[in-house]
């Protein structure tokens, strides 16, 4: 009797495991990670049949129904793929990736332009834009007051940029990607040795330009989730992310950090 129970329990456990694996595979197919034909649907249905008589609890039956539902979704995707392959739009993704890799940017752009018919539209004044304009106008100081304010600002005449300036701005010299990677490595090293990294001690350098440049690079790392910026009252700290998504979060907000020259 106890042997029977043991066999039933192990079948029960392995059945659950197999069904969960099928569901995971189906989910991956739905997310376009695998080709729909990667999964043998018939084998999946046979697995469902094999374990069906072991199910006793409500949760097991729910899992069974969920698996069947996911399998039907895969069948639907297989159907869609067959229709797609029979259409003119079908091309092997590998073939397209290879073409993109080998074609010059200009050639790609030319191919695109031959099939591109951009939208035409006109912009016009609306009630909202008029209301914004009135608000702006009401808040605008008279020109004499604005000129007075400008007189107090020390400004320089525009001058031509030297090679050093261009290198300093990152327009020439080391590749931007490499600069970011280097700074991230530096931050990771500091974090490994001393935990949370103080923003100012990491960013600040004797030269003001270098401080601004490092702050600029850090802002990229924070925006694209490579580094987290923690704000505790007046203190700012940086923590490198373990598994960066490399994407800007849609809900992210701007956090301006002024860099005073005197510091």
């Amino acid at each position: 009797m106890s042997e029977k129970k043991k066999v039933k329990r192990s079948s029960h456990a392995s059945g659950r495991r197999e069904l969960k694996e099928i569901v995971e595979t189906c989910e991956a197919i739905s997310e376009r990670k695998f080709n729909p034909f990667f999964l043998d649907v018939r084998l999946g249905v046979d697995t469902l049949r094999q374990y069906f008589h072991f199910w006793e609890t409500f949760a097991d039956h729910c899992l069974d129904v969920h698996t069947l539902n996911r399998l039907s979704e895969v069948v639907r995707l297989q159907n869609t793929q067959l229709k797609f392959q029979s259409s003119m739009l079908y091309a092997d993704p590998e073939f397209i990736a290879r073409k993109v890799d080998r074609m010059s940017e200009k050639r790609l752009a030319e191919v695109f332009l031959q099939s591109w018919h951009p939208l035409s539209e006109r912009e016009q004044l609306t009630e909202q834009t008029l209301s914004n304009a009135i608000d702006y106008w009401n808040a605008l100081l008279p020109i004499s007051a604005r000129w007075k304010r400008r007189e107090h600002i020390d400004s320089k005449q525009p001058s031509s940029a030297s090679n050093d300036t261009l290198i300093g701005l990152g327009i020439r010299g080391e590749e931007f990607d490499q600069q970011l990677a280097k700074l991230l490595d530096e931050l990771r090293d500091v974090y490994k040795s001393s935990g949370d990294v103080d923003y100012w001690s990491f960013v600040r350098r004797p030269e003001y330009q270098e401080t601004v440049h490092r702050a600029y690079l850090v802002s990229f790392l924070v925006t694209y989730d490579y580094v987290k910026l923690h704000v505790h009252e007046a203190e700012l700290s940086l923590v490198p992310t373990d598994q960066p998504s490399g994407k800007a979060r849609p809900s992210a907000a701007s956090f301006p950090i002024p860099i005073p020259r005197s510091d």
Partner: protein, 191 residues
């Protein structure tokens, strides 16, 4: 004869109303929805649109009818689903040259990246994980630029992204790009 003149002036009034609806942006998206046109132009709105289309064709413009549907659906699913909301846009009938594209604010590398993104998504039935798309673009444009470009295409409506990070063809691509022509041209290119 008098009746004909009356009918024509009435018609030109409708044509004006139609071009205003199609050309001037009122909401987030350009163009006009079918029900709007029906409401403002009457039951025979399709005839008005047809006549306007003939006038616009002389200016190398045309009115395009695009079905609006959820970004979760693939290209084929869009085609088979009946009763979708329809939107009308005015688009360029012919095509632009490289110089003209630059003049309207497009960089060549951005156009190239858009072409690559659309062709890749089409080859994957209109959907692919964002990471895969970025990997494809980063081989050619560098990692950071690839991320930025995908952001730009998402913001301008050429691509769409769902909560699971799956990118798909956006409403703007549907409206502006002749997908079959693009895939044919891509296949024709000799390397």
């Amino acid at each position: 004869m008098q009746d004909k003149e009356v009918a024509q002036s009435f018609y030109s009034d409708k044509l004006k109303r139609a071009i205003h609806l199609l050309l001037f942006r009122r909401g987030k998206m350009p163009g006009a929805k079918e029900w709007e046109l029906k409401e403002k132009l009457g039951k025979n709105f399709e005839q008005v649109i047809e006549q306007l289309n003939q006038l616009l064709s002389e200016l190398d413009l045309e009115i395009k009818k695009v079905k609006e549907s959820s970004s979760m659906e693939t290209m084929q699913e869009r085609e088979i689903r009946p009763g979708d909301m329809t939107r009308y846009f005015i688009t360029l009938k012919g095509s632009l040259g490289l110089k003209e594209a630059k003049m309207i604010g497009w960089r060549i590398d951005n156009l190239a990246a858009l072409a690559a993104s659309i062709a890749y998504l089409l080859s994957k039935q209109g959907k692919a994980p964002r990471d895969d798309l970025e990997r494809l673009l980063s081989n050619k444009f560098g990692k950071w630029k690839a991320v930025t470009l995908v952001d730009v295409f998402l913001r301008t409506g050429y691509l769409e992204e769902d909560d699971a990070g799956v990118t798909s063809i956006g409403w703007r691509t549907q409206s502006e790009v002749d997908l079959k022509a693009l895939m044919t041209k891509m296949a024709e290119v000799k390397l």
